[in-house]
Symmetry: D3
Subunit: 164 residues, 6 copies
């Protein structure tokens, strides 16, 4: 019965008891140092990977552009994710590493606030990946962004979490 | 040799001959009707999928919130993707369908402009997926966004393309 | 019956047949000159109205600030209103006129596009009104924005409409 | 005399002594828990209210879309209201309740900062109202947003205030 | 007399006859191809210029970051400049060239619209310059952005203009 | 050798040891009261300066518009400057003073945070200057923004700095 799930049913925290979306109240949470690491993969052709590696020796605008997009994307998280709290980020670092079958992307975010920064890390890797796809799509219209996920987070009441 | 790839080497169109990023000039392109369809998957636990289905019968705020995030994300594409052209979108539709192992997301975008709308479709599905992960992450911190990809695009000089 | 209203029931155009929100497809609509006029009222105390009039002789920053907020707010319409199409505005003019019992606000917007500009005009007067309230709220915390409404619109398939 | 009002004349706090707009300095204010409740009304036709109630049983995208617009609008307050301070919101909740003659909207905002959150609450109800009007305007071009006002605020040096 | 300058007095086009700011109506203007070139200089120490040149061989993130900031800044022009029309840019290119006494910045913008793109070019060079200063300010807190100016513009009723 | 400058070479703090751009980690920095003053000049013709002074007696929309643009621009700093931290500004004041050969612009910004506010002050004067140029460019297409620079900053580990 939609309106009254059994007592064991998990609740989506962003919905109030009537099912309406809300920005959950974090007033009661403690300000603690928090960090998160997220990762993703862009899968593309060997031809494109070779072009990126050429561009990437030693450093090139394609990867620099995607990295910047990731850093700036992290700052836009509360604009993009409807129920995310606006927070003040202390640090964002994004890496893009071309390898044999794709480009590995990671983002690390830090703050001291009442709420975690994993959405900022996820938005950073996703935006970096989309920006990279934008630059390679003329060569590979089938390029794919995969495995956008949190690797680790730390801080807050729930303590450290590492992806199993 | 980084600075002078052989004649057969593919070029990244968003880089000028010196390797600098630029917003490519589309002045010479024709204004034509253009459309794109992109898709993605959010993978999560059976427990969360059950909660989304309850919420989703008949319609619920979690899926509605992600759908809205996708539509609004499409409009933010030129803010997020550094070298994307600002365009006027004629239509954006986003669907989220919970199934046995995840939630399938699609986005269809349309315009009449000098440049395609596949980045808008990709940004829509990625933003919808991130918004969904934001709402389920308390239940499943390992939720993953996968397979963000273009399925089809149409219009412009290159004509229709369907994912092989 | 929610899922199948009778044949005479009016449909909300921003919802698809399943009830999901979408940005409606305007591809098939003609590009025509379109304009809209909206209005609103800010109701406040005689004391505040006197202060605004002093400031307003001949011109002052409080009214200028609200006017600018309205013009800039019109440009942010597609960011704020989830299902609004991004369009290119040709003109926005906002007036604020203090009178005996409040401040009358009007906005006129123009474009040549496939979709109307009444939301831009409404957003302009609402934002101007909110900006004015922000500046007077220390003197009158009960200041109220009322009667945010379209007065006229013109252009498009439906032709001119004047508020009855 | 515009430039030198008598000693008893109330001053607009957002203007400096010369009348120029400024973002007032809150450095000296204490960080305290602050909250605000604002409300508004959208007046429309019985026909539209019936459509919204159908959509609203149990929950529907039209009301969910307006609710989301309100939550996201609250986060855009410092972008829209020229002299508002950027703050970190702890919580935003928006309700929309269709009744006999219209739709009642409320918003509750919370933070711990040096400045109040009533503009965030007002922006939330106004944006929710405008988003709702956007979705019903094809059915009722005369729909009106009324009575955008603060009901209560709490916290800060001035203490609690309730609308008389 | 402020309110009635003599017949020969030049008028600021963004003010209406009463002196109020407005976004001027360009409905009557023709859609033509338009372009603009703007330039600026960042003046800094030989020490910083040496560091930028090292970074800049062959390409480095400091200059790439400033270039991207310029391109993205061009797209934010209507958000930043209150009376600028939102337009669809066809092309933005930004160069940064370290030389003996500073870094020369240029931006070229193109569109086909009813209004020129010189503000977009100016915003691009200014934003690129500010982004560069942000990265060098720890080494040179006195770094200065100078000579932000239009070099050339073309298109529209007034035809080509070249800086004398 | 680009990749390994000698031990005495100054480092650009926004680049990591490999040269990649990053938002530097300020987690370890203390929250202290911080302020900055920046200035700039807009150079234009005597004819335009006369028009601005007429408009500016006592106050006019052209200068008010530029002042507002500066205040709002300060709030957009983290959106524009890729590696800037998002912070909560406590105060922004902008002045524009027409004089014999141009318009002098200053901005003062304040916060209590882990990072300084000189980029916010610089962005305020640059945006105010660009907004002013936008309004006078029909009369003087050669108007120039010059000498965008920090005059003073205070707070943080490095203590007060005054432009030599």
């Amino acid at each position: 019965m939609p309106a009254s799930p059994g007592p064991a049913a998990p609740a989506l925290t962003h919905l109030d008891p009537s099912g309406a979306a809300r920005m959950v109240d974090v007033s009661g949470k403690e300000v603690t140092a928090r960090s998160a690491v997220a990762a993703a993969e862009v899968h593309t052709t060997p031809e494109v990977l070779a072009a990126l590696r050429r561009d990437g020796l030693p450093k090139g605008d394609a990867l620099a552009t995607a990295r910047l997009a990731g850093i700036m994307g992290a700052k836009r998280t509360p604009d993009l994710i409807p129920l995310c709290h606006p927070i003040t980020l202390h640090s964002v670092a994004v890496t893009l590493t071309p390898h044999d079958t794709g480009v590995a992307i990671t983002a690390t975010t830090r703050t001291a606030d009442r709420t975690g920064v994993e959405m900022e890390a996820l938005t950073a890797v996703a935006t970096a990946g989309l920006a990279l796809i934008d630059m390679i799509k003329a060569l590979d219209p089938a390029a794919t962004l995969d495995a956008v996920r949190v690797l680790r987070k730390d801080g807050g009441a729930t303590g450290p979490w590492t992806r199993p």
